[in-house]
Symmetry: C2
Subunit: 247 residues, 2 copies
């Protein structure tokens, strides 16, 4: 893995990296507390659809996990997102999503297809990312958490189901059509976020997805507001959830 830059502000060091993988490179970001040395818990963050590794919601949360918990945090551009090329198949689905969004059509079956396509690529990539950052002295091999909303939840579910290094996950903003089989194989503690006025995910389907997780400890937090309006206090809750399970 090639670390391409290093900056620091407010006690958190941010390093961009590029990880060679199959036929290309995975561009990513690693956040750690300034002066970090030795192994520590790691949180892998999966961004939402149309976003990228440095979307504001990812950066703000990552910096807080690093500063407040002392954890390492990593995010990469998902396939067809951020600095990565998209294939014809991606473009076809994205065009279909845009058409349906414009015409008020049903997005769910297309999102489900898109997530399944991307997960096939993202899951092995994330495994490679965990391997690579585990070799860094200031990350090492410790317990790993996963944070992902919306598409980050859809791609995260099959990853968590098959990746024993993941010990706890904060997920949400997704319904039961997505990854139901994999969801039923998840046994780690889950904190699951629902927005009651989500314009793309009906609340009943979110509850149905929550019900599928096989985890003994799972907690659902529902708040008023639309898809993108998770209240600020939920970040504090995620900090404490990860601290309890990884710290």
């Amino acid at each position: 893995m090639l670390l391409t830059s290093r900056t620091s502000s407010d006690g958190v060091t941010e390093q961009l990296f590029s990880l060679p993988f199959t036929f290309g490179e995975i561009p990513g970001v690693l956040w750690t507390p300034d002066g970090a040395a030795g192994p520590r818990p790691l949180i892998l963050m999966g961004h939402g659809g149309g976003q990228h590794k440095k979307a504001p919601g990812i950066v703000a949360r990552a910096r807080r996990f690093a500063a407040e918990c002392g954890f390492a945090v990593v995010a990469v551009d998902a396939p067809a997102h951020g600095d990565r090329p998209s294939a014809a198949e991606h473009d076809r689905i994205i065009a279909e999503l845009r058409t349906r969004a414009r015409n008020g059509g049903d997005l769910v079956p297309v999102l489900t297809e898109f997530h399944a396509l991307l997960a096939g690529q993202a899951v092995p990539e994330w495994r490679a990312v965990l391997d690579a950052v585990g070799d860094l002295d200031h990350v090492g091999v410790g317990p790993v958490g996963y944070w992902g909303m919306s598409m980050g939840c859809g791609l995260g579910i099959p990853f968590i189901a098959d990746e024993p290094r993941i010990r706890a996950a904060v997920l949400g903003l997704l319904g039961s059509a997505d990854m139901a089989e994999a969801a039923a194989r998840i046994t780690v503690p889950v904190e699951f976020l629902v927005q009651c006025n989500d314009e793309t995910v009906p609340r009943a389907t979110s509850l149905a997805l929550f019900d599928l997780f096989a985890s003994t400890e799972k907690t659902l937090h529902a708040n008023p507001g639309r898809h993108g309006e998770i209240p600020r206090f939920e970040l504090g809750s995620a900090v404490r959830f990860f601290t309890r399970h990884l710290g």
Copy 2:
């Protein structure tokens, strides 16, 4: 108000009291941090049906609110509970509840009737309790929170709706048949707990009650388990919720 005893352990002072009210006495408990002096936020706790002011779930939470937040906490026996006499009307409803519980009948309409009957007594009593403890030097007149599950939620809703001293509430384990009109008049921040396998409150009715609150900030926490199996980490969440809104 007559303070009848005073004990202290683990940094928390517990004082039993008896407050004269209309034709009888309201027996209660006040918890404060040892050595407390001057005004501080207060939490009023409403116990569940069949419980009393010193039920283990009340005491454990009250001691933590006092020790960790530095707050005063008060609980009283609800009418027909604990050390208080029950009237013929109470006894009739309680007998009907027992019969239905034994025969698998529908408890909801009887519980709703019971809560409405008790609330008519409990709400003015709680106002008197707030007045009385506000006169104590180590409680004073500060922001007030309300905590109540199940019957404590059912009696709390009409109280909170009409009592401007209440600034935030942790409620739950109750469905929408109860106090719907009053719930729609609640505007303070609410944290609302739901047990997904609640044997007495169907989840859909809990969600419907949550939807009724007019609060801009309201957050629903749903966890697996039966009515009495709220996970321990929810107490930490309540501590932070009250600290954020009363502290």
